[in-house]
């Protein structure tokens, strides 16, 4: 198999694994929508433990498969995902949606209702 073919298979496998690990939800993008796989592929290409990803298309069926790859890929994946602009924007949109109905009182009004009005420190 040519190197470019191996790279192609590797990239698709990596994308598949990462999207299974972080599949996205109504607000959050899946991994490959947030981070271009091309930008991170270099880091993993030479990892000997991931050699099988170059050989053929792999399938992920079970939770156990995800756990295995999570260990191999490490937590950097998470760091890359959550520092991407698209995820930061999604978290902001999510925030706005969930804060719609939450009451936030003005700090001056709240302080007016506080019990201590007179200074109470000891000289």
């Amino acid at each position: 198999m040519t190197d470019s073919k191996k790279r192609y298979i590797f990239k698709n496998n990596l994308k598949n694994i990462l999207n299974n690990m972080i599949p996205g939800d109504e607000f959050m993008p899946c991994f490959s929508h947030a981070v271009k796989i091309e930008t991170i592929i270099k880091k993993y290409l030479k990892n000997k433990l991931l050699l099988n990803l170059k050989k053929k298309k792999i399938k992920i069926f079970k939770k156990k498969d995800i756990e295995i790859y999570q260990k191999l890929l490490g937590n950097d994946i998470l760091d890359t995902y959550f520092t991407s602009n698209s995820v930061i924007n999604s978290l902001n949109l999510r925030k706005k949606y969930y804060l719609k109905d939450i009451k936030k009182e003005n700090v001056f009004k709240l302080l007016k209702k506080a019990k201590h009005k007179k200074q109470f420190f000891r000289e």
Binding site: M21, F82, K95, K104, E105, K113, K118, Q119, F121
Partner: protein, 522 residues
């Protein structure tokens, strides 16, 4: 050994050293401020960096034993339930500190007199007020005037937003009739950044000092202070980046290396005249270590509260239980602080630790069950001096220059334990009123030794203390200590504001008396 010379040498370019470097820079003298750590680019340590959540576990890890940089020194915490946190670089621990910036209470300066516990200071709140005000102006402190827990504090910048979680907890404080107030912060409000902009002492003091001619010497670790036959400090031996040893001659030396770093240098400078450590005829050096035992209480809510946003340190606080009350079973008291909850990456690691999150289909369900839905409270307990809580040189663990590390010997007092239990009980009550569906609490929290106090205490004479009220060593007249080592008591609040006010006060004294102080050298 190559020799250099300066009029004033400040050892440590952190919170205390920077304030004095600026204050003394108005004198027409050669001033060098030396630090064992590097000068780091501002862009790297900004709290608003996208990767802040990551860097705080890597380059800006609060634990020197994990960082293990050349500029760090090993700290053995095996004999202490609380481990030490710091940062060793130009800017010191302000590169990583949260910027919660309260002052001490007037009562903190006289705990022995009014509560028969701890030790009195040799000056009071009123003496220090002028320096608190000057420091607030230099640093740019935000907050709200009129807090009934304090004498009036003026000229504050607009307070930071207390957020949804702040608003919820403030309502709960009101229901219980307990004191609360928006936090004082060394942070500037910003429309762009929710956390605000938090400068370090590099921006607030050091850059200005450098403009006035102060020389900053990074990557230079002081190993020993040398003295003459007549017990006058003559200079220091330091090791530079290339690990070459140099002698830097100085007319006056100011130690500003923190409550751990300062006694370490003095202990390592022992000689024939001072076999137990330099300036330690009193035997008090390294003793009376105080650390502010910290309790943590976290409420978990059904609703998203956006509690992950807001100032890094504290958005509102309460001094309801700060002062001694006869009906309580402990003396002195504590602050309750409302903290920010963790961001997504930290939330993930936290949940992982308790096996409550998995990658895969349930990933976001698991994450969002926690992220932004918790309210963490910290209980900062006043610690009292005790000679059995002490630090010593650790000859088994050395830094990159071969200088011994530090061993911490520390136990919580009965008073602190009772205070902590009281704090946890009352924080749970507060979170219950706020509607928490579950609450988790523990203390003391291990990695919270960030306020390092008392190891070279101030006192009336050379038998009971290391320095006098001006931070001047009783035993060596041209050697001053300007950091929190000299504090005789710890208060129940974060200390940086007081550290810097005290540093300014001492350097004012030095400014006025410089000629007289060095005349003694001849």
């Amino acid at each position: 050994m190559k020799k250099e010379r300066t009029d004033i040498l400040i050892i440590g370019a952190g919170a205390s050293g920077a304030a004095s470097a600026w204050n003394l820079s108005k004198l027409n003298l050669k001033i060098v401020c030396i630090d064992q750590g590097p000068l780091i680019n501002k862009k790297e340590y900004s709290f608003n960096n996208k990767d802040r959540e990551i860097s705080k576990f890597k380059k800006f890890n609060i634990d020197p034993n994990q960082r293990k940089f050349d500029s760090d020194y090993p700290i053995n915490n095996d004999n202490s339930p609380i481990s030490i946190s710091n940062y060793n670089a130009v800017g010191g621990s302000t590169l990583i500190y949260s910027g919660h910036y309260p002052r001490f209470h007037p009562s903190d300066f006289k705990t022995k007199e009014i509560d028969d516990i701890g030790s009195n200071w040799l000056f009071n709140y009123n003496d220090l007020e002028k320096y608190y005000n000057l420091n607030d102006k230099m640093v740019g402190v935000s907050g709200m005037a009129g807090d009934p827990a304090y004498p009036r504090i003026n000229n504050l910048q607009s307070p930071l937003d207390i957020g949804y979680s702040g608003s919820l907890i403030a309502r709960s404080f009101n229901k219980l009739g307990w004191h609360w107030w928006p936090s004082y912060a060394a942070i500037k409000k910003s429309n762009k950044f929710k956390k605000g902009i938090r400068p370090t002492v590099v921006e607030t003091y050091l850059n200005k000092a450098v403009k006035n001619g102060v020389i900053i010497k990074p990557n230079s670790r002081v190993l020993k202070i040398k003295i003459s036959k007549n017990k006058i400090a003559t200079g220091v031996i330091y090791s530079n980046k290339r690990k070459e040893k140099r002698f830097l001659k100085a007319s006056l030396i100011l130690l500003a290396s923190s409550g751990i770093g300062t006694p370490r240098i003095l202990m390592n400078s022992k000689n024939k005249d001072f076999p137990n450590g330099l300036a330690n005829n009193s035997g008090q050096l390294g003793k009376n270590l105080m650390l502010h035992p910290l309790g943590f209480v976290e409420g978990h809510f059904n609703k998203f509260l956006n509690s992950n946003e807001g100032p890094e340190g504290c958005s509102i606080y309460s001094h309801e239980f700060y002062e001694t009350k006869k009906k309580r079973n402990f003396k002195r008291g504590y602050t309750i602080q409302l903290l920010k909850s963790p961001g997504p990456i930290e939330s993930f690691h936290y949940l992982k630790k308790f096996k409550k999150i998995n990658f895969g289909k349930s990933f976001f369900n698991d994450l969002f069950a926690y992220y932004g839905k918790t309210i963490p409270l910290a209980i900062i307990c006043e610690d009292t001096p005790n000679k059995n809580n002490f630090i010593q040189l650790d000859h088994k663990n050395k830094d990159s220059d071969g200088m011994p590390g530090i061993k911490i010997n520390y136990r919580l007092s009965k008073n602190s334990k009772k205070m902590l239990t009281h704090g946890i009980y009352h924080c749970k009550k507060l979170l219950n009123i706020a509607g928490a569906k579950s609450i988790k609490a523990f203390g003391p929290v291990k990695n919270t030794g960030w306020h390092l106090v008392g190891t070279a205490k101030m006192g009336t004479n050379k038998n009971n203390s290391v320095v006098n009220k001006f931070g001047q060593c009783h035993d060596i007249k041209n050697l001053f200590i300007i950091d929190s080592s000299i504090f005789p008591s710890s208060s129940g609040v974060n200390i940086a504001s007081t550290v810097q006010a005290v540093s300014l006060m001492i350097s004012d004294y030095i400014k006025k008396n410089f000629k007289r102080l060095i005349a003694r050298n001849d």
